[in-house]
């Protein structure tokens, strides 16, 4: 039975590729229909595997971890989005011989919280990473508990060592109540801020006793230095502590020399992704050399918080629909320091010719904030974007400049002119956040790269005298 299923899957996979189609889940789906136990049969041949789950950052964390693990041996890794049982089966089939032998013995699976309980019992999970647990803002009631129940059931199906975000009270509760061995990662306390800008904090209540949690300070969202005043539930001392030093992340591990990795992307959540990947890699006994080489080889997709060493530094994000745009905006406002925004909106076919979606996106979060120094709007619809900012209630400096290069220059100039931050008058830390629709993205990336060279020498000089 399983041979037929393997052949069905492999032939289908081959045929789909022949016609230039993505074969990330259909072959697995067909094969599972022929032989429902195929996933278990194939994964039985694995020596070990790592599972990455959680609400945000699964894809980036597992891509980084895959890059590290590949330094040691070839691995099986399911592709982005294909994290249902059929996606996992497809990934395994790709490395299965026609006679049913698995050619690679180590796998890394990114798995959706909802799918986790269906599959973990079939897999030899050695390490299970929980990036964080956020509740969907649209489903304010009920959803969160279902997610936690699914995660709980998924974890219970394994003997895995858990690698968990200790700064997140929801993940922490899940881990400590699981009875598994747990290794926590978290940011250094110095990075936590006691000021917040009215963001939703999902885990504000203690899951152990229901009391409201006390926070000494926050990293972002509900992630922070928390403690329950009633039952003593608290943020654990991390086994892996991340310290951010400009463009590098230093990871301190108990009983080990600290390791330093270069961050290719900005944003607190990207720091957490890198930290989770390093913590998981260490838990899988990967050497510091493999980790460094793996993270260097890791190439993030363009437009996901890419950093540019312009002066001041710039960060590039792709925006294309309200939901994605909202999470980018949330990420930006949760970053420390003063900010200048540069928003480039095109309306060519690949962007969508209708720009109404700008009015469904929550640009309103940018209004009334002292840390946002100014905003430059650009692209073929620069004026429409400026209007959106006006009606969002944004009253800071605004420049409308349809030309992308001139707009970036204007944004960099604005950053150098604003008043110091009200929160922290000593801070001279300003970042330009560039948001761009698809057809402007590559042009903007090139323009930013060009401006990096312009200031490279000046930057090096500054470092050497300080």
């Amino acid at each position: 039975m399983s041979f037929i299923a393997i052949w069905v899957g492999k032939v289908l996979s081959f045929a789909l590729r022949l016609f230039g189609r993505r074969a990330t889940s259909l072959p697995g789906k067909a094969a599972l229909r022929v032989c429902p136990s195929l996933l278990r049969r194939l994964s039985r041949q694995l020596e070990w595997c790592v599972v990455v789950t959680g609400t945000n950052g699964k894809t980036t964390t597992s891509a980084m971890l895959a890059s590290i693990l590949r330094q040691g041996q070839p691995i099986i890794h399911n592709q982005e989005g294909a994290n249902l049982p059929q996606g996992l089966t497809t990934a395994l089939l790709q490395h299965t011989s026609w006679r049913g032998r698995l050619l690679r013995r180590v796998a890394l699976f990114e798995i959706d919280e909802a799918t986790l309980p269906q599959v973990t019992a079939a897999l030899p999970v050695q390490v299970l990473v929980v990036t964080n647990v956020f509740r969907d803002q649209l489903d304010r009631y009920g959803e969160l508990d279902t997610t936690l129940d699914k995660l709980r059931a998924g974890i219970a199906g394994t003997d895995a060592v858990l690698v968990v975000n200790g700064d997140d009270p929801l993940s922490r509760h899940l881990a400590e109540s699981s009875g598994h061995t747990v290794r926590y990662f978290g940011l250094a306390a110095e990075h936590a801020k006691d000021t917040e800008h009215g963001q939703t904090r999902d885990g504000a209540f203690c899951l152990r006793c229901g009391e409201r949690l006390d926070y000494e300070a926050f990293f972002y969202g509900q992630l922070g230095l928390y403690r329950c005043p009633a039952c003593g539930f608290h943020r654990p001392q991390p086994d892996f502590t991340g310290e951010i030093r400009g463009w590098s992340l230093r990871v301190r591990e108990v009983g080990q020399p600290p390791s330093e990795v270069t961050l290719r992307t900005r944003g607190v959540f990207n720091v957490y992704n890198a930290l989770a990947a390093v913590a998981a890699a260490r838990t899988c006994d990967q050497s510091a050399d493999h980790i460094a080489a793996g993270l260097t080889a890791f190439a993030p997709p363009l437009g996901r918080m890419q950093g540019y060493a312009t002066h001041p530094p710039a960060v590039l994000n792709l925006i294309k629909n309200p939901t994605g745009c909202d999470s980018v905006l949330q990420a930006i406002v949760s970053e420390p320091g003063r900010k200048v925004l540069c928003i480039a909106i095109n309306d060519l076919a690949a962007d969508g010719r209708d720009v109404s979606w700008l009015w469904d996106a929550d640009f309103d979060v940018l209004a009334g904030r002292a840390d946002i120094v100014g905003c430059v709007t650009s692209g073929l619809r620069a004026e429409d974007m400026a209007l959106r900012m006006k009606y969002a209630g944004f009253t800071g400096s605004m420049v409308v400049q349809p030309d992308l290069g001139a707009a970036l220059d204007a944004a960099l100039a604005l950053s150098n002119s604003g008043p110091p931050s009200a929160d922290d008058p000593t801070s001279t830390d300003v970042t330009v956040y560039v948001l761009s629709t698809y057809t402007a993205l590559y042009a903007v990336a090139e323009l930013l790269k060009g401006r990096e060279h312009l200031h490279g020498a000046a930057l090096a000089y500054r470092t050497s005298v300080s």
């Binding site: 010719r353 109404s356 004026e383 400026a386 009606y391 209630g393 349809p402």
Partner: protein, 240 residues
């Protein structure tokens, strides 16, 4: 002290296909900047609108299915809505909401989904969809600009909102776009409609204030950005 201007957004949970919240936001901000107090009631699906209390009602666009649900819900209260309209209450109906004002929407298979029958207006599904940037000339407020995206072809026996200068309009044939009847405005133009058409926004607000019984002209606002966006649209997008 005048009562706040009361705006109702009908069924935003079902009808918000083309960022209709942007229209509400525009009305709200243009009141706020003038120191006019505003209350916005979002009337959720299934609940009863209170037409006697509103000074302005917005009905947005949705998919055919959502539109049919709204039609059924609202049919029950169409007597109240008709009375308010006859008394001069402004109603702004966009895309699907516009089609709902008529007696029916005829699907491709010939089925007629009943509308609210408030206007002498019918819509028949057609192919292809009429999609693109649009500009119309209206005697109410000059050039109105925006985006249209509709399969339905609408014909009616009322005043149109304006004459199509660029784009397709009501049915792609007779050269007109939208409808006006008393203080009802129906149109396929979104984008959303009001931010880039501040004169239309102010006309709607002025009518709502008059209907409310407030006798104050609206103070002019600084519309530099609005004008820049209109100018950019007219030169770069519809080449006028």
């Amino acid at each position: 002290m005048a009562q706040p201007l009361h705006i109702a957004h009908l069924y935003p949970d079902l009808l918000n296909l083309y960022a209709d919240r942007g229209n509400i936001r525009t009305l709200r901000m243009r009141c706020l900047w003038r120191g006019i107090e505003v209350t916005v009631s979002e009337v959720p699906a299934g609940s009863r609108p209170d037409f006697a209390r509103y000074h302005l009602v917005l009905l947005g666009g949705g998919s055919d299915r959502e539109q049919a649900i709204v039609g059924e819900t609202l049919a029950k209260w169409k007597g109240e809505l008709r009375a308010a309209i006859e008394a001069g209450m402004p109603l702004l109906a966009i895309c699907g909401g516009y089609q709902l004002l008529g007696s029916y929407y005829q699907l491709p298979d010939g089925t007629k989904v009943p509308g609210l029958d408030l206007l002498d207006l019918v819509t028949v599904a057609g192919s292809p969809r009429l999609i693109g940037n649009v500009a119309v000339e209206s005697d109410l407020c000059g050039t109105i600009v925006g985006f249209e995206n509709h399969g339905g072809r609408t014909t009616h026996n009322h005043e149109p909102l304006g004459k199509v200068v660029r784009g397709c309009g009501n049915n792609g044939k007779d050269g007109y776009e939208g409808v006006q009847y008393k203080h009802v405005i129906g149109t396929y133009i979104h984008g959303p409609l009001l931010p880039k058409n501040p004169r239309l926004a102010d006309l709607v607000l002025a009518r709502a204030r008059a209907y409310q019984g407030v006798d104050h002209p609206l103070e002019p606002l600084d519309d530099t950005l609005e004008d820049a966006a209109r100018k950019a649209f007219l030169t770069r997008r519809v080449q006028l």
